[in-house]
């Protein structure tokens, strides 16, 4: 690994200032579980590292007045995974966190880092997308909040400017009769990367008609993506076999998987269809049972 200059600012403003000052030569450091490895392999060779972990303002979970929940982007994943309020309100998001790496990795890794690294196969983006998550970005030009849907631009590429920091993730308050599900298809039961990931979040009304359905795919496109076409099919419907099948096909049509050493394109396409149906069914079950609050 090449040597670098290390800064550990205590405020977000200071971090932004440092990133601005050093430009291309600087990289922000969150949990380090991706960046340290890239640096070790000399794929990324920053001259300056701005360690964000010492910024208290970027860590922590709070409920906002409107009932939504905001957590700091530098909150270790494991803290979210064991937080009673997070587990109660956003169980499928928490289940997606538990799929990341191992306990050791989750004690270091952050959702902010997971989002900004923008791997197409990352585990937290699909569930966050189905929750209509927003991200708060701060930079020298001020602060902005954008939907996570607009954040992913390409593999490893995001809407984050070089001198911006993703400070918080905001999750809307969960709705009554809602439920979510994340299904990750991988070879191993632990420490694996999805070759297909599907998340679904549904809101039902009293007679179990779909009021709102959200479907997001991971690992089958250059970015994690919501599938509007599939969601439209489910809108206002009872979840019959036919409706589910149609939604699955729409999701498959929207996916753009590739063949790589993890899986073939044919398998991935087929699995998008299968897992979309499963994820929607399971999410609806949770909505009916009240697990999703």
């Amino acid at each position: 690994m090449k040597n670098f200059e290390y800064f550990a600012p205590e405020t977000t403003e200071e971090a932004i200032r440092l990133l601005d000052e050093h430009g291309e030569a600087a990289k922000p450091l969150a949990g380090g579980t991706d960046l340290l490895i890239f640096m070790r392999d000399q794929k990324i060779t920053p001259d300056v590292i701005v360690d964000l972990k010492g910024i208290n303002a970027l860590s922590g979970i709070e409920e906002l007045p409107d009932g939504s929940v905001q957590f700091g982007s530098l909150t270790p994943m494991q803290d979210l995974a064991v937080h009673p309020m997070m587990r109660e309100r956003y169980p499928h998001f928490i289940s997606s966190i538990r799929e990341v790496g191992s306990i050791q990795v989750r004690n270091l890794a952050t959702v902010g880092g997971n989002i900004c690294n923008a791997s197409p196969a990352a585990d937290t983006p699909p569930t966050l997308l189905t929750l209509n998550a927003q991200v708060r970005l701060a930079g020298p030009r001020g602060e902005r909040v954008i939907p996570l849907r607009e954040f992913f631009v390409g593999p490893g590429q995001t809407a984050l400017e070089r001198d911006e920091v993703l400070t918080h993730v905001i999750l809307p308050s969960p709705q009554p009769r809602s439920g979510g599900c994340y299904i990750k298809l991988a070879n191993r039961q632990a420490m694996d990367i999805a070759f297909v990931g599907v998340s679904s979040y549904v809101v039902l009304d009293e007679d179990h008609t779909v009021v709102d359905a959200r479907i997001a795919l991971g690992a089958v496109a250059p970015t994690p993506l919501r599938v509007d076409a599939a969601e439209t099919i489910l809108q206002g419907q009872q979840l019959t076999k036919e409706v589910l099948s149609e939604a699955g096909e729409a999701a498959e049509a929207a996916s753009r998987p590739i063949t790589d050493h993890r899986a073939s394109v044919e398998y991935r396409r087929m699995m998008v269809k299968v897992l979309t149906r499963r994820a929607v069914l399971r999410a609806a079950e949770k909505a009916r049972n009240g697990n999703g609050r």
Partner: protein, 159 residues
């Protein structure tokens, strides 16, 4: 651009001051600067858990932490497990054949300790989940589970 810094680490209760380049990992400093070679490097990418330590109460891979990031923090390693006698988890691993070559063992011991701290009466599935971040190639895991469950039982009976 060496920019070496003095950092403070409390390791197994003892305070240390080390002079480190920013690029050095906590794993490097433990093994090379402090001579605590019980923590092992199996992969360097956080995939095997051989370097597992407890950092400010959190179970982490020491290969993924820059030492300079750990400035002011406390670290527990395998060398701190035994007092004037072996820790019950260490005893259980010995008695139940929970190790063969032993290179993954320090990491497993730390993960097991961490698990039993928060969950003194785990089910088999909870043990497996708690150890899922540690790879073993020799044992096939079965005797590791037995050892951890036995240790849990012994520790409950002691208290």
């Amino acid at each position: 651009m060496d920019a070496k810094r003095w950092i403070q680490l409390t390791v197994n209760g003892e305070e240390h001051e080390v002079y480190v380049e920013p690029r050095r990992r906590l794993l490097d400093v433990l093994r090379e600067d402090l001579g605590l070679t019980g923590t092992k490097e199996g992969c360097g990418t956080g995939d095997c858990g051989a370097c597992t330590v407890i950092l400010d109460g959190r179970l982490v891979n020491a290969c993924l932490v820059f030492a300079i990031s750990a400035n002011g923090k406390s670290v527990e390693t395998v060398e701190g497990l035994a007092t004037d006698h072996l820790h019950p988890i260490q005893e259980a691993f010995i008695q139940h054949g929970g190790l063969q070559c032993g290179i993954c063992t320090p990491g497993f011991l730390m993960s097991a300790k961490h698990l039993l701290n928060s969950n003194p009466n785990p089910t088999l599935d909870e043990v497996r989940f708690g150890l899922a971040g540690n790879l073993c190639r020799c044992t096939g895991y079965t005797k590791i589970y037995e050892a951890v469950l036995a240790a849990a039982k012994n520790m409950r009976e002691e208290t």
